[in-house]
Symmetry: C2
Subunit: 359 residues, 2 copies
């Protein structure tokens, strides 16, 4: 028998600590049912609690501790009241994405039956697309600096960095994904008419990649009008590929148009499996609702489903476990129980139990 998949469970901060156990419950249940061997290690660092005690978000040997894992199952990080976001996030989540080369951030957007849609007249099936976000470079850098600091003449330069290596591989992933789907449609987010160095170049890389995928219909759109179309024409989308910043924006906006970002999962993938991939809800640590056990755990649970699917290469028991979890989510969303964000009064735990019972 093959060795169990090794998974680090990192609850993190705020509601991350509330939804993580429910994610674990669902994943364990599905693994049991479909005969997947999983081994969990719970980790209490990569959290602001840890930072307050140790003055750092993670121990020095974090990379050794996590490097042998197959996946990281992550709650949420951030507690801005005591630790600035740029400390907590750059010291954990963004470090994982970058140092474990999780260059694809895959974020499904889907309207479920039973979830009220903020868009008028839309029904399940009208919103069902995948966002592929570049996840390691681009606009997310701390390169640049300030000249004449503290004076009237102060000037700040912020650099974005796009590599051909980093751009081509995420474009390739997106084209492959689009080519594997029924509609074979890929939207490429850009802003080449305003951001005048990186984005025209990004466009040219997309044009180049498109040559290898004649079967994929490519639709290049500026980010401004693209956000408008997420609202006005959501049926238009199948796979959307975007730079780090544009992908960040689209993957909050998309889930919002499908009802709430509280349901949205996210897979931070190192497709080559040289490093562990990371699975996390898109919602953050939500300090405003933490401590009341009312957070909706579905994004965490759905992220767990993406994890099982990825671990097994989208085949066999992992795919079956994924599908069973998603079906359980569909049922609970349609029939309840519901947490307060969806108009009910169930607790995080009750929702997690309800999903697990259906797997």
């Amino acid at each position: 028998m093959s060795r169990p998949y090794r998974i680090a469970l990192i609850p993190g901060d705020g509601i991350g600590k509330e939804v993580a156990p429910e994610g674990l419950r669902a994943v364990r249940r599905a693994a049991e049912r479909f005969g997947l061997a999983l081994e969990f290690t719970e980790i209490e660092w990569a959290s602001c609690d840890y930072y307050r005690q140790h003055g750092t978000m993670m121990p020095d040997d974090w990379k050794e501790q996590l490097g042998g894992m197959d996946a990281i199952f992550f709650g949420a990080v951030g507690w801005p009241a005591t630790v600035p976001d740029n400390v907590s996030l750059w010291g954990s989540l963004l470090k994982f994405r970058r140092e474990f080369d999780q260059y694809v951030n895959l974020r499904p957007v889907r309207l479920f039956d039973g979830v009220p849609c903020p868009l008028a007249g839309r029904k399940p099936g009208d919103l069902d697309y995948l966002i592929v976000r570049e996840n390691t470079e681009g606009e997310y850098t701390n390169l640049g600096g300030t000249m004449f600091a503290g004076t009237e003449r102060e000037i700040v330069i912020q650099e974005s960095v796009f590599s051909r290596h980093g751009t081509d591989r995420v474009l390739k992933f997106a084209f492959e994904l689009a080519a594997s789907r029924a509609r074979r449609h890929l939207t490429v987010a850009t802003k080449s008419n305003g951001v005048a160095i990186s984005m025209p170049w990004w466009d040219s890389r997309a044009d180049e990649m498109a040559k290898a995928y004649p079967q994929v219909a490519v639709d290049k759109q500026h980010i401004d009008i693209l956000t408008a179309r997420f609202v006005l024409q959501p049926q238009r989308f199948d796979v959307v590929v975007a730079s780090n910043l544009f992908g960040d924006i689209l993957s909050d906006l998309g889930p919002a148009t499908a009802g709430t970002i509280g349901l949205a999962p996210s897979a931070n993938l190192n497709p080559e499996r040289r490093f562990p991939s990371l699975f996390e809800p898109v919602h953050g640590s939500a300090p405003d609702i933490y401590g009341r056990n009312i957070a909706n755990p579905i994004a965490m649970i759905w992220s767990g489903a993406l994890m099982l699917d990825f671990l097994t290469g989208g085949e066999g028991a992992g795919r079956a476990a994924h599908d069973a979890i998603v079906r359980a989510i569909e049922t609970v969303l349609r029939e309840g129980p519901r947490t307060p964000d969806l108009g009910g009064s169930a607790s995080t735990t009750e929702l997690g139990e309800a999903v697990a019972a259906l797997i």
Copy 2:
């Protein structure tokens, strides 16, 4: 009697050429009625037609020709089939914004009675806010470059430039505007948790400016969740201030949530009046519908109203003319006629005539 206001009318490209005459018609009608003296100069450059004949978007003396004007009333520019956007836009519109130091781009978002709203259950009054976009610097630069061009190791650097001068003045404009309104609420768009040099600094400038406006409630939001809230909680917004790129995105998304970007006007202001300000619809040249006289001219007409208001300093005849135009727009949107974008079959001209007749 004081001299007439001098206005350059630049139709530009595509539907710019169709909506400009209707903007002119409405503005002339309102000026007549409220006794404002206007003098128009029609300009056929700053268009791709001109580029095709002259190999440049504008004549060498464009600045002299326009510098003495009080305002530029602008249709749209861009014809990507023959002239790349970065040539046409950087050679005209973005040049005006920058060289005429139109550092405030003011873009109202409003849901009108009679316009179907893509957001479920929203009524006029639920969406009514102003976006203040920095319009000269920030992410819109052609600074940076490529290393190892054409090789596997290719790396592209794109620089954003934020100056204290440029940031403080647009923040100040936004705080003043918020302070002058009933709700006194200002949303500051940021992304300081990801874009790690410029955005934390932008936040600190906003914090500093906020000290001078204790009466204004400030709500800082990351651009990702902010786009989500434009959809989920539009009543939340009063004045929104954002960098060039974030303002660009929000000012397409906001109008989309209010029905269509086809209605959205925009004022590119040099508040000190050292240079002409520019008034233009947010929609572009729309090559796909050009030539059929079906474009909705309301964004152009509304931009004309903003122009009259600005020219007279928001007082007297200019304010009255503005209000009369906006009332005429309200009536036409409620009662028709309608252009095809709003489900009718009226032409651009018919709509323009209907609005003018009501002024």
